[in-house]
């Protein structure tokens, strides 16, 4: 018979043995964060989050759950994407310390890190044993979205990437297949190159418009710049001459890309130049276009996943559930457009508490729950997210969706990320708006290149060159031709 004292002794010994034998990485990162954060009970931390659907995660799910587990309150500061960088920098420059944790777009990292707005996370990562859990993040995000100057400043937390969505019923229609073969001598297949895309898109519009168009894209400049960045590199373009840092976005490749982009509008719905994320979503979900390229939520909503939720009432009712296919965009190297990282503000008065919250959010266990939330826009970013049985069974085609996302993460291209990235992006936004306005592609590409050169000169050629070379050396900067 074992006495209570002996039971305790053996139990303690067993626990210690298990503790010693169990590898440190096996300890659950979420539990570690919760346990450590309990000493901050009663503390309120504020976190900057993209306004709208994204913010429903901390408002309805992670915030309340964190409070339940730790007693800490989470104040969510919702900010429009276009204003996030400004607000974060304003808070930092003013020294107000209004924000503790931050959602940041990865391409802002060089600026935010250099300015000193972000807290270096390495000491916390080591203190709370999170380094091994970071290794399970998909390589392209882990290797490119986490560090600046060799230090960890943020955790990749949203695997944004462009995918092509297409109508399987249209591409599988025998009559259309026969007609396309008769016209081109080729099979009607999901396009793998932009030339194929133009051919298929024009053919479908000729056959089906005005009921349906071959394709529709978002064309508003803030979105269109990412499509340009992606396509330009898929066609072999480089942003700069790495030796001189002269902009090369007016190369013949760039002019061709711009010319083709505008020409494609002719087989898209009238007024496509005004399409943003929602207009394009509506066109696709209502069966008005046969192909589109966008961020992952399109794929979920097209299948009707989660659209019965109150928060998604605004999403147009899908008419194409069960008829949606997923593929890589033409060229095969999709843009890892925008995305989000979690970081800690250097001016925070609760740095450790904020860190623990983001470790918990980002941990394998909690992040898996978060990327499956139907009402937010968080997309898979850990290896396990793409193969999770629960996710694979969310709708009949989910396995194809996740397989396409995984493939996209392996071949995806990073957003251009330099010092003062927004200055370069602003030039691209102007370039795209002039393109839709009808200006000469060569003239606007030349102007954009000249503007980029002026920005580089102002920042300092050598300084920017070092940042560009580091970025260009990354695994997702340019496709391997």
């Amino acid at each position: 018979m074992i006495t209570r004292r002996e039971f305790g002794k053996y139990g303690l010994a067993a626990g210690l043995t298990a503790g010693v034998m169990r590898p440190a990485w096996a300890a659950d990162a979420a539990d570690i964060a919760v346990k450590a954060a309990q000493k901050y009970k009663g503390t309120t931390i504020s976190i900057v989050w993209e306004a709208g659907l994204q913010a429903l995660d901390p408002i309805h799910f992670s915030g309340p759950k964190w409070k339940e587990l730790t007693g800490m309150d989470v104040k969510v500061v919702e900010v429009q994407t276009a204003e996030m960088f400004t607000k974060i920098m304003q808070d930092y420059r003013s020294g107000a310390g209004g924000y503790d944790a931050l959602n940041v777009v990865p391409s802002w990292m060089p600026d935010l890190a250099q300015a000193g707005a972000l807290e270096v996370l390495d000491p916390y990562v080591d203190k709370f044993g999170y380094r091994d859990a970071l290794k399970t993040i998909a390589p392209v995000f882990r290797d490119n979205w986490m560090k600046a100057n060799g230090k960890i400043y943020a955790f990749p937390d949203d695997g944004d990437v462009f995918l092509m969505y297409y109508r399987t019923d249209i591409f599988g229609d025998p009559k259309l297949q026969a007609a396309y073969r008769a016209k081109t001598g080729k099979d009607l297949a999901v396009p793998k190159t932009w030339a194929e895309f133009d051919s298929v898109g024009q053919f479908l519009t000729d056959k089906l418009a005005p009921k349906m168009y071959g394709a529709s894209f978002f064309r508003q400049p803030p979105y269109a710049i990412f499509m340009f960045e992606e396509r330009f590199r898929n066609e072999g373009g480089k942003f700069f001459d790495a030796d001189t840092m002269k902009a090369t976005i007016n190369s013949p490749i760039a002019v061709k890309v711009l010319t083709d982009m505008r020409a494609e509008n002719k087989f898209m719905p009238p007024g496509v130049e005004q399409f943003g994320f929602v207009e394009n979503l509506a066109a696709f979900l209502q069966g008005e276009s046969a192909m589109t390229i966008s961020w992952p939520p399109y794929g979920r909503w097209a299948e009707g996943y989660g659209t019965d939720q109150e928060a998604l009432k605004w999403v147009p009712k899908t008419t194409i559930a069960g008829k949606v296919g997923y593929a890589l965009p033409p060229g095969g190297h999709p843009e890892l457009a925008l995305g989000f990282d979690l970081a800690v503000a250097s001016t925070s008065r609760h740095k450790e508490a904020a860190y623990l919250f983001i470790q918990w959010l980002n941990s394998p266990k909690i992040s898996l729950e978060r990327v499956k939330l139907p009402y937010t826009l968080r997309d898979p970013f850990r290896e396990a997210h793409y193969t999770d049985p629960g996710y694979l069974s969310l709708w009949p085609n989910a396995k194809y969706y996740l397989a396409a996302l995984k493939k996209a993460s392996e071949t995806g291209l990073l957003d251009l990320s330099l010092l003062q990235t927004d200055k370069y992006e602003e030039v691209l936004r102007q370039m795209m708006s002039r393109l839709w306005a009808g200006d000469d592609p060569k003239a606007i590409a030349d102007k954009a290149a000249a503007d980029w050169d002026a920005v580089t000169k102002r920042i300092g050629v050598a300084k920017q060159q070092a940042v560009y070379k580091a970025w260009a050396a990354g695994s997702g900067a340019y496709p391997k031709m």
Partner: protein, 305 residues
């Protein structure tokens, strides 16, 4: 002599008696003066100092940089274009708002049924935030969902694709329409008040003498309402020079930089690109520019005698 001495003594006594009174007055206005200095003068002086420094997103360089930022103003063609766009919008919108406002004021000058209801409804646009007005008009101009193109399509008898916020020939009309819709009622209200105070007896005398409408307007009405009208023009003119919200909501300054105004450009430089010191220099350029214009207009309008 004694009387003089008495008078001097009285004056002295009064002066002594008044001294605490003066001091009390200063104490009374001191908080207001302090507040004005704090929220008005201090930021102005601080901005002036910053404009001679080199603060950007990348560096917090507060060392004296001389006139570098002011010299940069002269090389910055985008800045001067934005100023030109601002003046263009002002030159088009202001006369139209004045003309429409005056016409509406004349219309509602005479008593009519439901006058108060109509006036209240007409004033509604001015109480809407300009950013909301801009966003609403952006929806109105939307090719896919907006009513404007639908109405044009009905009139034309076929669908019309007019990209109001994209096409170079349509963006300015779109901005002007939105601006006029929102601010003509302001002109209308001010001018209605001014017209209501025109001396009726002079108008009746002119009518008896056989003066026509234009003659009466030019020689009696206009001089009577001019001080109020000039103030309304200055207020609206200044508003138009700092126009931001409507343009930001409709075009964000595009296509390219075609509709970028001085306020839009300043915002981009200051709050998107964090060229803090350069933005301060732009702000001072605008202050000087506006001050010169306002002084000239006030003198020309004879508002200060």
């Amino acid at each position: 002599m004694a009387q003089t001495a008495t008078l001097e003594a009285r004056a002295g006594a009064t002066a002594i008696a008044r001294q605490p009174d003066w001091s009390f007055r200063y104490w009374l206005i001191a908080p207001a003066v302090f507040l004005l200095l704090l929220i008005g003068l201090f930021p102005l002086i601080y901005s002036l100092i910053v404009s001679f420094q080199g603060i950007t997103m990348m560096t917090n360089d507060t060392s004296y940089q001389g006139f570098v930022n002011y010299a940069r103003l002269f090389e910055d063609t985008r800045l001067w274009w934005s100023l030109a766009h601002t003046l263009l919008i002002t030159a088009i919108a202001l006369p139209i708002e004045l003309g429409l406002g005056l016409a509406m004021a004349y219309l509602f000058l005479e008593p009519m049924r439901g006058r108060q209801v109509f006036v209240s409804l007409l004033v509604v646009p001015t109480v809407i935030s300009p950013i909301v007005a801009g966003s609403t008009w952006k929806l109105m101009f939307d090719n896919r969902y907006g009513p404007i193109n639908q109405i044009i399509g009905w009139l034309a008898g076929h669908p019309v694709v007019a990209l109001w916020t994209v096409h170079p020939k349509l963006v300015y009309p779109a901005i002007i329409v939105c601006e006029i819709w929102q601010w003509t009622p302001f002109m209308f209200l001010i001018l209605l008040a001014a017209l209501s105070n025109v001396d009726r007896s002079q108008l009746e005398a002119a009518e008896i003498d056989g003066a026509g409408f234009w003659r009466t307007f030019r020689l009696i009405v206009l001089p009577a309402i001019w001080p109020v009208m000039a103030i309304a023009l200055i207020i609206r003119g200044l508003d138009l020079v700092r126009i931001f919200d409507i343009i930001w909501a409709l075009t964000m300054g595009g296509p390219g930089t075609m509709t970028e105004t001085i306020s839009v450009y300043t915002y981009i430089q200051g709050f998107q690109q964090f060229e803090i010191s350069y933005t301060a220099a732009i702000a001072f350029l605008v202050i000087i520019f506006l001050t010169v214009i306002v002084i000239a207009v006030i003198r020309r309008a004879g508002l200060v005698k």
